[in-house]
Amino acid sequence: MNVASRLFSLMVMVAAWYAGSEIAGQRMMPGPQTVGFALWAEAQSGALAFHLGATLARVAVAFVIAMAIGTALGVWMGRSRLADRLADPWLVALLNLPALVIIVLAYVWAGLTETAAIVAVALNKLPNATVTVREGARALDRQLDEMAQVFRMSRWVRLQHVLIPQLAPYLAAATRSGLSLVWKIVLIVELLGRPNGVGFEIGIAFQLFDVTRILAYAIAFVLVMLAIETFLVQPIERHVSRWRPKAA
């Protein structure tokens, strides 16, 4: 059923890849077997773990910073008209500033440091989270707010039981789109100014025209993302949504 159809799609993908590599030639597009072996070799040598680890660490830190600040900002702007009017121009500017510009400026102003890298990534993701959470904050149910007020619920209770559950779908959306955005930008940041990580490795492979290496890291990357989605994000989402009436 579900698993079977996914496996079938996967097999079709691999088959198409194999066919493509035969047509295009091993130099331009190495086949699955070549890349598979290269991937295995990288894993054996520990290089894969090292670079993936570095990238994952950057993703985690930048993501958390961007979500924390972005959420707070989004709630503030969603609940206060004044805040919204004041901060919106800044938000729109940051939202539309190309990722590359932010990264390059960060490196120019703060040097080729880890801090600059993380800040650049976080700044890229932040307006995205803010806009999404702001929508959630605008859509808050006033009736529940009033109920909480009459029952004299404490600030903490209201945050935990009234506000955050209402924001949950918006936080989920911001997380999903944000995580994939952060992944991509971390790679660029590593390519441009870091001595390790998947982006760095891909940069080296590019200079050496080592397509095998590029594809190997790309696949490892996608596999890790899928694992996070399947084993982390989806179970959390299911747990948080268990109060919803099931669709018929």
């Binding site: 529940l144 007020q149 009459v150 004299r152 039981h161 559950p165 109060w243 919803r244």
Partner: protein, 212 residues
């Protein structure tokens, strides 16, 4: 607009739509502050409110909803309330799994669990079928009597008001004002046909007196 409700009594605000019953309630509970005048409540009075909508947190169970509204309620309190309102089987259900009548009961349980000094109900049985509404009115009356809770209920149904209240406050619109008060003699139920007729006559008299 002025009226007084004695401690332990059950008052009903009755009147047609638009005469300000809900607004009055919102002023009393502090939800609206745009008014001139004073509201006298007992110091640090605890409020229990039942809104027109159940207003339960959909992502928390029945029991969690009641506990969040009344954190000081003991397990024994909750057992008693759930038992009295027929909710024992639904303690760990989510509001999405309840019918409207059941959800209303949970809202009632939550308000009573607070052990309020003033219980306020805003048309709590509107849009329920007649049999269910009557049943819930009886449950409410039983709880109010046994716990001696000062209660203020807003309703547009004269029957409901007569059935539940010690005192009716008749409201009229344009401008919103209290037309008069009608005391309902105890015992509250069951009123005989004669008593009902007398009450209705008194209501008509008070309403007529004000030329409404």
């Amino acid at each position: 607009m002025a009226f007084t409700l004695k401690a332990g009594a059950v008052g009903a605000l009755v009147g047609p739509s638009g005469c300000g019953k809900t607004t009055l309630l919102r002023i009393i509970t502090g939800l609206d502050s745009d008014y001139i005048g004073t509201v006298h409540l007992p110091d640090h009075g605890k409020l229990g409110m039942v809104f027109q909508e159940p207003r339960l947190l959909p992502w928390r169970t029945v029991e969690q909803n009641v506990r969040l509204g009344a954190p000081e309620a003991t397990d024994a309190d909750l057992d008693a309330l759930f038992g009295a309102l027929g909710l024992a089987a639904h303690r760990h259900h989510f509001p999405g799994e309840l019918s409207l009548g059941q959800a209303r009961r949970v809202a009632l349980a939550r308000a009573f669990a607070v052990k309020p000094d003033l219980l306020v109900l805003d048309e709590p049985f509107v849009s329920l079928d007649a049999a269910l509404a009557k049943h819930l009115q009886e449950e409410l009356a039983a709880l109010v009597t046994s716990r001696h809770v000062t209660t203020l209920i807003v309703t547009h149904s004269m029957d409901e008001a007569i059935g539940l209240a010690d005192r009716l406050f008749l409201l009229s619109a344009s401008p919103a004002h209290v037309v008069g008060e009608v005391p309902i003699p105890r015992p509250r139920e069951p009123h005989t046909a004669e008593e009902l007729a007398k009450i209705r006559a008194e209501i008509a008299r008070v309403s007529g007196k004000a030329g409404q």
